[in-house]
């Protein structure tokens, strides 16, 4: 029976549409994966010595102190990205297989998920270093196994709380507040949680507690799914209560308003697009790396422009990048309805512009780091509006990956989204403004650098109609290919 399940799994993996990407991308992905493994391995080995050299104290204690945030962060990432095991159960329901076996199999499958074993790349080398450095073998063993159990606990907690958004966001909010409190030294939760992690080392038998918790969670999840394995219970998709909304205030924009209304609903009511917007919000804080001097490599003057582009362009990159794929599930409708491409594109363009302006205003706290910093943001915004907004729409014509709006699975890094054309188009988006700035900065003065980048944006803005006509032509040319590609659902 298990063999049958495994062949199913094998086929579903190798026959998935995303696997059929071309060879270059596969090689690229393998290198990417190797790179990250190397980074984690390096971190696992290096963490101990880095902490020691920085004089932060006993490395194990330091790691234990932040363990609670690591665990919560892990849970958060799982909640957003980890696929639920129940999705493929339906076809198995009526077959002559015992229910408990189906449940055991689907839960067991989650154990082998990337989200579990990826942590091993940090913890195994770290534990080995602990042993090498003369920590007690028994203690290290207890600590390692205990932590491991906790990560598996996360796995099953995630399975159990999946789709309980309000619980999840409350916890997330709570821990964000705790994190801020800790930063400002008002209240330190790690004082209360670290002793537990330390105890895993000092009293290795404590690891049994963690394993006990894991066993409790596993049996709980098992019983829960076994009991709820019906189409209208555990396997039912979440249905939200719908409310008809008018947005009458958008009517004054005519046809453009019609599309904007739709786009607002698109963002509001779908998991995937919501994630994109939340991500774009975090982009605003990306500049902190640059302006606080936290990362030495970013101290060069031209990096300010880089930061400015990202701070104001979060939405542009996370949402704009995937126009028109957001509409992939009903693209044939859009193509046969009484719609002009120009209006369709213009509405997306406005959305990007509005979001860029909002980000720029929200980013005004950078004034704290001096007007120079905020000026970089404003200049970045002008460039985003005048040049990058077209480039993302243009690049979108070549990204023919359908988006499943209701799932977050591929929110980060869609493999097929990387093709030669879109990669080429990122160059002018990011590197060109740096070059333009460098030209002004080094030849004349920093101010002229800003003026140059700003001018590029304004000139681009002036050519709006010409550029739109061009992009429209490309979309029309790609139309049939796009429709065909969107038909191939993953």
């Amino acid at each position: 029976m298990l063999k049958l399940f495994l062949t199913l799994e094998w086929k579903s993996f190798f026959r998935s549409a995303s696997f059929k990407a071309n060879l270059a991308i596969k090689i690229f992905m393998v290198f990417g994966a190797l790179y990250f493994m190397a980074v984690f391995l390096g971190l696992g080995i290096g963490a101990f010595y880095i902490i020691e050299r920085q004089g932060w104290g006993d490395p194990l204690l330091v790691v234990n102190r932040f363990m609670i945030y690591y665990l919560v962060g892990d849970l958060y990432i799982r909640y957003m990205l980890q696929k639920m095991p129940i999705t493929n159960i339906k076809p198995l329901l009526y077959l002559p297989i015992k229910k408990s076996r189906v449940v055991a199999y689907s839960l067991g499958k989650t154990v082998f998920s990337f989200f579990n074993w990826s942590h091993a790349f940090f913890f195994i080398p770290f534990s080995v270093v602990l042993l090498v450095e003369g920590y007690s073998p028994l203690g290290t063993m207890g600590w390692h196994l205990g932590i491991m159990a906790l990560f598996f606990c996360n796995n099953f907690i995630n399975v159990l709380v999946n789709n309980k958004d309000n619980v999840f966001y409350m916890l997330l909010g709570l821990f964000s507040v705790l994190g801020i409190c800790q930063y400002y030294e008002m209240f330190n939760i790690t004082v209360y949680t670290a002793p537990f992690f330390n105890a895993l080392y000092q009293l290795p038998w404590m690891a049994l507690l963690a394993w006990g918790l894991l066993i409790a969670l596993v049996s709980n999840a098992f019983l829960y799914f076994k009991k709820h394995m019906y189409l209208d219970a555990g396997l039912a998709g979440k249905k939200s209560l719908a409310k008809t909304e008018d947005y009458v205030w958008l009517n004054r924009f005519g046809n453009l308003g019609t599309f904007l209304k739709n786009d607002i609903k698109l963002i509001k009511r779908n998991k995937r697009s919501k994630t994109a917007v939340i991500m774009s919000f975090f982009f605003i804080f990306y500049g902190l790396f640059f302006f606080t001097g936290a990362v030495e490599a970013y101290d060069g003057p031209i990096w300010k422009i880089f930061a400015g582009i990202f701070i104001s362009g979060g939405f542009l990159f996370s949402f704009g990048q995937f126009v028109p794929s957001w509409d992939s599930s009903y693209y044939p409708l859009m193509m046969s309805q009484n719609i002009r491409y120009r209006e369709y594109l213009t509405s997306k363009w406005y959305l990007i512009i509005i979001a860029t302006l909002v980000s720029t205003i929200l980013a005004s706290f950078y004034i704290y780091f001096g007007w120079d910093a905020y000026l970089a943001v404003i200049v970045g915004a002008v460039y985003n509006i005048g040049v990058n907004s077209y480039l993302v729409l243009w690049g979108g014509a070549y990204i023919k990956t359908p988006i499943d709006l209701t799932s977050n699975k591929k929110a980060f890094g869609d493999k097929q989204a990387f093709n030669a054309k879109t990669l080429l188009l990122t160059l002018p988006k990011l590197l060109l403004p740096l070059g333009i700035y460098a030209l002004g900065h080094y030849l004349i003065s920093p101010t002229v650098g800003y003026i140059f980048v700003g001018m590029a944006g304004i000139i681009g803005f002036g050519f709006r109609n010409r550029v739109f006509a061009l992009i429209e032509g490309i979309y029309k040319k790609e139309k049939y290919k796009t429709i065909a590609a969107y038909k191939q659902k993953t």
């Binding site: 998709g237 609903k265 599930s329 046969s336 309805q337 209701t406 969107y486």
Partner: protein, 231 residues
């Protein structure tokens, strides 16, 4: 109204559609029948410029479909669920289509009033998004939306499939009324021979991409079709 000339569609070596000549006059209710893979949906997709013809073209009301977009204002269709926007409520979807076709909210409301019976209280005011409706109810929404804005050509692919018997009968009534007005050209495809013979004045049978029968519907039509498909 609609003229098809030397239309072929090939995928690689296989010809999936090959229609030398076909004329559909204005106001006709036109039925397309054929087995799976006969080319019905291919033909409708070509009518909507969703795929490109290999050779030939279709002219809809004087507009060559693959060359101009001017056919869009007077043509509407419901082919499958890719014509629905899942995250909208039925009302929002109707208003959206209405706005695209130059009808305001009040116009659409009046339009929907006429389909109250057809909806059978399962569509409007349900607090559900389209993606959460059943297949049959989704189909009802798509079909009614295709009537918004007084289109002159309406294309419906398999409109009877997935509908409950009551709704099927009501839909037949609606299509007959449209046909009777002689203003609207309705193109319907179906696997159900009884339904098409009932609502269509003319039935074309496709087989492996070619027109093999072109019949003006009469009392004998159903028999003729059953013999064709049975034999």
């Amino acid at each position: 109204m609609i003229t098809v000339q030397n239309l072929t569609k090939k995928y690689g070596e296989s010809i999936v559609l090959n229609i030398e000549n076909l004329e559909i006059p204005k106001g006709q209710s036109f039925g397309l029948v054929g087995n799976n893979g006969a080319g019905k949906t291919t033909f409708f997709s070509l009518m909507l410029d969703l795929i490109q013809p290999t050779t030939g073209h279709i002219i809809n009301n004087g507009v060559q479909i693959d060359a101009s977009e001017a056919w869009k204002p007077f043509t509407s269709a419901f082919i499958d669920e890719t014509f629905l926007i899942g995250y909208l409520t039925p009302e929002e979807y109707f208003y959206f289509i209405g706005e695209l076709r130059g009808r305001n909210k009040a116009d659409v409301d009046i339009h929907l009033e006429g389909f109250k019976d057809f909806f059978h209280d399962e569509i409007l005011g349900q607090k559900k998004y389209l993606r959460d409706l059943s297949k049959g109810n989704q189909k009802k929404v798509g079909i009614v939306a295709s009537f918004i804005g007084d289109p002159e050509v309406i294309i419906l692919d398999e409109p009877f499939a997935n509908l409950d018997p009551t709704t099927q009968i009501k839909l037949k009534g609606i299509i007959k009324d449209l046909a009777a007005s002689k203003e609207v050209t309705v193109l319907v495809s179906s696997h159900d021979l009884i339904h098409v013979t009932e609502v269509c004045e003319r039935i074309v049978v496709l087989n492996k991409g070619e027109v093999v029968r072109d019949i003006q519907t009469s009392m004998e039509t159903l028999n003729e079709l059953e013999v064709f498909f049975g034999g």
